[in-house]
């Protein structure tokens, strides 16, 4: 079997498995999903409860619910959230837009800054200034995202009033959105950066010991020329895989940042859905995130083979 064939089967199995998990986990949890479709103070009769239950398909046996689940997936129907009174796909679409707006710039900035700074740090790992920088990045690497967000929010928004206190936007103009996004993007960039930085640094330290690096030097390449003409491309290979895996992390990790900055993105959507046992939203969100992560991995595989001819020619 060819290499790509094997990969394809793995991706396929991953999707099947994770989709099934999506179905199973919410149903395994305690708590009646119906109760949360209503608010506090609601007085209900038994009959209207049963009516609602039937309407939502919760009275069907599990295997039928499972079949219905797959049918819906194939017809791109992610269900209806009785909690949010909208089709799940519409909710996710409107929320995902914002989360991507937060995540993609952070991911790109983090990747670019992280790899370049990390490469330089690995190249000059004995330099005192670099060591200080590495220490700083390591501190960020070791701090939970939400805590750093809290500190930034407290210092820059609460104390100095430089940034808005909450949300993705208030008036909705591009400038307003940019102003709201700046601080969360900075925090997420720092995190993405710190992860890429550490990997890239280690990768460069490892690669620079290879013979081809010595030969590049023997050819007359000087200093950073060796790094950027020869080592960088080799060292960046592990980052590509990591970026794809980080994509899932950042999408879901945005949860914490969204909570701290009170932003209505996917993270808060999942968190609310979790607390209220909003099955359709939970399932839909996981489904979409899974598809995105798997596609990101696929993309990384393609990119990897673009950069690394050894994979391409296998």
């Amino acid at each position: 079997m060819t290499f790509s064939g094997k990969k394809a089967i793995r991706y396929f199995l991953a999707i099947i498995l994770i989709f099934s998990l999506n179905f199973a986990i919410p149903r395994a949890m305690p708590g009646d999903p119906l109760a949360n479709l209503l608010g506090e103070d609601v007085m209900l009769t038994e009959e209207s409860i049963a009516e609602l239950r039937a309407k939502m398909g919760l009275d069907l046996p599990l295997h039928e619910q499972f079949l219905a689940y797959w049918r819906d997936i194939f017809s791109f129907d992610l269900g209806y959230s009785y909690h949010l009174h909208s089709p799940v796909s519409a909710i996710i679409l409107s929320r995902m837009k914002w989360t991507l707006l937060l995540a993609i710039p952070s991911l790109i900035l983090g990747a670019i800054l992280g790899t370049f700074l990390g490469a330089l740090a690995g190249w000059k790992s004995r330099d005192a200034g670099q060591k200080f920088e590495t220490g700083l990045v390591l501190m960020i690497y070791c701090t939970p995202p939400y805590f750093l967000s809290l500190l930034f929010l407290y210092a820059l928004s609460f104390k100095l009033g430089l940034f808005p206190l909450k949300g993705f936007y208030s008036t909705g103009s591009a400038l307003d959105i940019a102003h709201h996004l700046m601080l969360p993007v900075i925090v997420m960039t720092l995190f993405s950066l710190s992860r890429n930085y550490m990997i890239m640094r280690g990768s460069v330290i490892q690669e620079r010991g290879n013979l081809y690096a010595a030969y590049a030097r023997a050819k007359g390449l000087y200093g950073e020329e060796i790094l950027f003409r020869h080592i960088f491309k080799n060292a960046i290979l592990p980052i590509i895989t990591l970026l794809a895996l980080d994509f899932g992390f950042i999408l879901s990790g945005a949860l914490f940042i969204e909570i701290v900055f009170s932003m209505n993105g996917m993270g808060n959507l999942i968190y609310d859905a979790l607390l209220s046992r909003d099955y359709p939203v939970l399932q839909g969100s996981f489904l979409v995130i899974t598809v995105m992560v798997v596609s990101a991995n696929l993309l990384a595989d393609l990119l990897y083979s673009r950069i690394d001819p050894r994979v391409r020619w296998q």
Binding site: P30, G31, D32, P33, A35, N36, L37, L38, G39, E40, D41, V42, M43, L44, T45, E46, S48, L52, Y80, Y82, H83, L84, H85, S86, S94, K97, W98, L100, L101, I104, I108, I112, F158, G161, L165, K166, G167, F168, Y169, S170, T171, G172, S173, A174, D176, I177, A178, K233, I259, V260, S262, N264, N268, D272, L274, L275, S276, R277, L303, R306
Partner: protein, 525 residues
């Protein structure tokens, strides 16, 4: 590297495209009152969303309203009458009301609303059990009941009235979402619901003929984080605070006072924190045990830690002084010695010497304290108090829905929860909605099936004269004081801070400052 740059450019383009499609908000013009609230609107569904439904009391005013002194008066209805047998209620609809699209408000609209919601909205489904039919007579709406319900007028102070010409086309009320303007007949109508920004915009109803408001628009800013809300108040980004059936956190009050820019209104809260007791289980079914429990709780400490002292220690009569026909019963008191004495006399002792009491039947008193995470701190205190009485308790923290489930299946020993003003007043009033075992509902405990109590509830529901009601109310408070079906932890206060730039605030016990009278009166100084 060139291909890398290529990807970068494409991604950047994508970001700008997303930015381009982002929602375009709007800014209200003129004098705008901005209210900050932790009650989050989750979807722009007037009937489906719990908090949007409450906010819409301003745009789609209910038939009745509560006055600042707690009486029920007409709002969309001008007046109401009830027949002597309590089975016929007549509401005369106010003249000159018009929907924001120019149509007149008619009794037909009201009849349609309740016929429609009884079928469509689970929150209104109770009507099917209570109301046999709704009729239109001239300019009035008549409700014919199956059985007497003295709390009907209160119920009708919480249900929005809908325009028939719009909603009769809507097949599924809870599923109708509307981010833009929603037709209403109040002084203000919802012009936009921006879930992303967490803002609900109200503008003046152009066809409003009543008292003209002194402000041009209202914005409700929702906050998921209390600290951010406090800061927004401090910075003047919002002018006042409001939370349904709740208070501004006492711990944050001092900071607001320090700015000197705020008026802090303190009103007694009709709803409050309680210790729910599962009367269907041993040893909680033992009145002696509950008696001891009541003496074992340090009410002063809870009041201080949970409410920074804003409130007072409750009486055994449960019902707070701010409710009608309040009767002064014996105050709750912290006396652990007394508690231990009662336990010992009732046969609770630690016979196996493991430090934990056993019931007279010989079972160790190990209790489960069921809570939602917001009661975590109070639960820690409670466990400590129970320890002081020689009992062990395990805290079981669950989310809201699990709490409902476990509460419904009586799978707990003790629980910490709270009552709301509406919950205290509805049904047979005086908190009966929480205890009558025949009631169902999300917040209710339904633990009491004592025939004496159930009969009392029925009598109140059927009562038509004030004297009768007063007598039953006192009887009920005496019942609570004697039987302790739940223990009120403290009677709190509603703290409502508002900016001194604004004057003319009016509040009522049911909805605080969120009422039509207030928004017609409030003005910028």
């Amino acid at each position: 590297m060139r291909s890398g740059l290529h990807y970068f450019a494409v991604s950047l383009l994508l970001v700008f495209m997303i930015l381009g499609t982002a929602a375009q908000g709007e800014e209200s013009s003129g004098t705008v009152l901005k209210i900050g609230t932790p009650n989050i609107v989750k979807s722009p569904s007037l009937v489906g969303d719990y908090y949007l439904g409450i906010f819409a009391h301003l745009s789609n005013p209910p038939l009745m309203k509560m006055t600042p002194d707690g009486k029920i008066e007409g709002l969309t209805a001008e007046s109401s009458e009830v027949s002597d047998d309590g089975l016929t209620w007549t509401f005369k609809i106010r003249d000159g009301l018009r929907w924001s699209d120019g149509e007149n408000v008619t009794p037909e609209d009201v009849k349609f609303t309740f016929d429609y919601l009884a079928k469509q909205d689970p929150n209104t489904a109770w009507m099917k059990d209570v109301v046999s039919e709704i009729l239109v007579q001239d300019d009035s709406v008549v409700f014919k009941l199956k059985k007497p319900d003295s709390s009907l007028s209160l119920e009708l102070a919480t249900h929005n009235v809908l325009p028939k010409h719009i909603w009769e086309k809507v097949e599924n009320a809870t599923e109708k979402i509307d981010e833009g303007e929603i037709v209403g007949c109040g002084p203000f109508v919802i012009s936009k619901t921006d879930i992303g920004a967490g803002i609900v915009y109200f503008k003046k109803n152009p066809y409003w003929t009543g008292t003209q408001p002194k402000i041009d628009a209202i914005e409700l800013h929702t906050f998921s984080n209390m600290d951010v809300l406090s800061l927004a108040l401090e910075k003047g980004e919002v002018d006042a605070y409001w939370k349904y059936a709740g208070t501004y956190p006492a711990a944050n009050v001092q900071k607001l006072k320090d700015t000197g820019k705020f008026e802090i209104e303190e009103k007694p809260n009709v709803g409050f924190a309680i210790l729910g007791i599962n009367l269907k289980r041993e040893p909680m079914s033992d009145i002696k045990f509950r008696e001891a429990l009541a003496y074992g709780i340090n009410y002063d400490e809870i009041l201080k830690l949970d409410a920074q002292g804003y409130g007072q220690v409750a009486n055994r009569g449960f019902v707070p002084p701010s409710m009608a026909y309040f009767k002064e019963t014996e105050p709750l008191k912290y006396d652990p010695d007394q508690a231990r004495k009662i336990l010992a006399e009732a046969g609770y002792k630690d016979s196996d010497g493991d430090g934990v009491l056993e019931t007279p039947q010989g079972k160790a008193v190990k209790l489960t304290l069921l809570i939602q995470s917001s009661y975590q701190r109070m639960a820690e205190l409670m466990v400590d108090y129970l320890k002081g009485l020689g009992m062990t308790a395990e805290i079981k923290t669950v989310d809201q829905s699990t709490w409902y489930t476990l509460k419904e299946s009586f799978d707990y020993d003790l629980t910490l929860t709270r009552t709301t003003p509406w919950g205290m007043m509805v049904y047979a009033n005086w908190g009966s909605a929480y205890f009558d075992s025949r009631r169902t509902g999300q917040g209710v405990l339904r633990t009491v099936d004592d025939p004496e109590y159930l009969k009392l509830c029925d009598q109140i529901m059927a009562a038509t004269s004030k004297d009768q009601l007063e007598e039953y109310a006192h009887e009920m408070q005496d019942y609570y004081a004697k039987n302790l079906p739940a223990i009120p932890l403290y009677w709190g206060e509603v703290i409502t801070p508002y900016n001194k730039d604004w004057t003319g605030w009016i509040s009522n016990p049911l909805y605080g400052i969120y009422n039509a009278d207030n928004f017609l009166s409030v003005q910028k100084a």
